[in-house]
């Protein structure tokens, strides 16, 4: 696995040389600061609406960064034929998949830290508090969620023809899970058989990305979540990440390179 780290560092360097992150960060900062400049009833301590908006922008931005950065990794290597000299070295296809995943995931982590630092500063200017445990839990779980999304995009880049279609499909699937994933069981119970069993099976099979969304708890200043729940969610993310990486590896293993 010595080859994994050099591949991952190349991916991280590629991300910070591209403009995606900077553009999204500046947009997030601009919109948040613009909304922060609006005062309601001459009260400059109102914070929650601003926190909610900022976190929404962070979620959208990091999802876009993760999906677009990952979706083009393997197709670009094949298109530019750089995959051939890469695999001519003592590097297995599994190491390429893991290296690409690790690079994208680490790059997302760096982006997340910058975004949360900004969020923390904005929040502290209004609330004069640094709930570091809450921030850490929210950041970590969002990073875990991004691990699933990155692995899903990597698997998708070997299944779908073009990076654009892969990115669109993964973005739609992730958004759908985030919006309705939690409610699929409720919907299933209202359906007749066999649709009920099918939808319930889908509910259990889907990676529940909404589990990692602590935005409401953060916005409304709830207490940190229980550490056992945090650890269990981390394991849950790890399991789904490996499932998608396995799918990617199985798909990449016998695929012709050109």
């Amino acid at each position: 696995m010595n080859a994994v780290w050099p591949i991952a560092t190349v991916v991280v360097k590629e991300l910070y040389r591209r403009k995606d992150f900077y553009v999204l960060f500046v947009l997030t900062a601009l919109i948040t600061l613009l909304m922060g400049s609006v005062t309601f009833f001459h009260d400059d301590r109102i914070a929650r609406y601003l926190k909610e908006l900022c976190l929404l922008l962070i979620w959208v931005s990091t999802l876009v960064i993760a999906i677009t950065a990952t979706a083009r990794q393997l197709p670009a290597e094949r298109e530019q034929r750089t995959i051939l000299p890469l695999l001519a070295k003592p590097v297995s296809r599994g190491e390429v998949v893991v290296g690409k995943f690790l690079g994208c995931w680490l790059a997302c982590g760096v982006a997340l830290v910058v975004f949360y630092l900004f969020f923390g500063v904005v929040s502290a200017t209004r609330e004069h508090a640094w709930p570091l445990t809450n921030y850490f839990q929210a950041l970590w779980l969002q990073w875990c969620m991004l691990a699933i999304v990155v692995a899903m995009s990597l698997a998708g880049s070997l299944v779908f023809a073009a990076p654009s279609s892969n990115a669109t499909i993964v973005f739609l699937v992730a958004s759908a899970i985030l919006l309705v994933g939690r409610h699929l069981n409720t919907v299933a119970l209202t359906l007749p058989e066999p649709a009920q069993t099918l939808v319930y099976a889908l509910y259990f099979a889907l990676p529940h990305l909404e589990l990692f969304d602590l935005r409401d708890l953060l916005v409304h200043d709830w207490a940190p979540i229980a550490w056992w729940a945090w650890a269990a969610a981390t394991l849950y993310a790890l399991a789904y990440t490996w499932v998608f990486l396995l799918v990617a590896w199985l798909s990449f293993r016998r695929r012709p390179l050109v």
Binding site: F40, F41, H42, D43, R45, I46, A47, R48, Y49, L141, V180, R182, H183, N185, T186, V187, L189, Y203, F204, H208, E210, L211, F212, D213, L214, D216, L217, V219, H220, D221, W222, A223, I225, A226, A229, A232, A233
Partner: protein, 300 residues
């Protein structure tokens, strides 16, 4: 060939003449949006009312610290949102343990609209979002619902409830009755027939400015407007009617106008769920109305 400057001046003259002729037509045209309420109305059209309603519900979600049903959850059919109820009725103190915040599920807990967990994943997922019913209790937290209510008034200036609820929170929790009065005056300009706004303005004069005369005038005007709009309705707004009569009785008592207080109490008795108590109040007021017999004049 005439001079190009001359042509230019001629064209400019034609433009100004046309503009002066068209402007009154445009202003009189029914499709003109110049008087509809500015940029938001032009951009969003009628959909702004939907957004205003959405923001009003968002304020209620903030009032519950994020614990709020989605379209998939069991919708508890309530006539009033809790946030509005608090603004209208005297609040019943809740036991402090009911407000203790925890995101961790525990057996025997009140699940509210969520119902009991349907499966292990549902039970587990409740650790990651607000899953306990709480209300904003601290004064400093109450301000958090205000941006959504303000946005609601901007988007739909005819949504009276947004003004009255925002004014209640400004007046009672944040101790800013003057700002509340400003907001209500803005709402009154947009809704000149609203008796609810007049009632809220009257309460500021009565309870914060301690001006019972002005409060009485506002309540009396509100009562006239109430009768104009609600008389003949199959389901009149009796809640506000009761409130208005109750406050009129209070300010009459403060001013010592017992005769008028008896009149309002008589009206209140007809719709009160507890007419016996109102009758006792009427008797007390009548006793004050009749001058007590003075000491017998002594011999000169």
């Amino acid at each position: 060939m005439p001079s190009p400057y001359l042509v230019l001046v001629f064209l400019l003259t034609v433009c100004v003449s046309l503009a002066t002729w068209l402007q009154p037509h445009y202003l009189a045209w029914g499709g003109s949006r110049t008087g509809d309420g500015g940029l938001l109305a032009t951009l969003l059209g009628e959909s702004r009312r939907l957004f205003a309603a959405q923001f009003f519900f968002k304020a209620d979600a903030y009032f519950h610290s994020g614990f709020y049903p989605t379209i998939f959850d069991n919708q508890i059919v309530e006539k009033e949102l809790h946030m509005s109820e608090e603004s209208e009725a005297a609040r019943t103190p809740r036991p402090p343990e009911a407000e203790a915040r925890t995101t961790q599920w525990s057996p025997g807990e009140d699940y509210g609209f969520l119902g009991s967990p349907k499966d292990w994943l549902d039970r587990f997922s409740r650790n990651f979002f607000p899953s306990r019913h709480t209300h904003l209790e601290q004064k400093s937290e109450a301000r958090e619902i205000l941006p959504w209510l303000r946005l609601s008034t901007w988007l739909d200036p005819h949504r009276v409830e947004s003004y009255t609820v925002a004014a209640f929170w400004l007046r009672t929790r944040l101790g800013r009755p003057e700002l509340a009065a400003q907001l209500l005056h803005e709402g009154w300009r947009a809704n000149p027939d609203s008796y609810e706004i007049l009632l809220a303005l009257g309460r500021i004069d009565e309870e914060n400015r301690h001006d019972p005369v002005r409060a009485h005038n506002l309540y009396a005007l509100a009562l006239r407007k109430w009768h104009r709009q609600q008389d003949g309705n199959a389901e009149p707004d009796l809640y506000t009617y009761r409130e208005l009569l109750g406050h009129l009785v209070l300010v009459d008592e403060k001013q010592g106008d017992w005769a008028e207080a008896v009149q309002y109490l008589t009206l209140l008795k007809k719709i009160s769920p507890n007419p016996a108590a109102i009758q006792r109040q009427i008797d007390e007021a009548r006793a004050k109305l009749t001058p007590a017999p003075g000491p017998a004049p002594g011999p000169p």
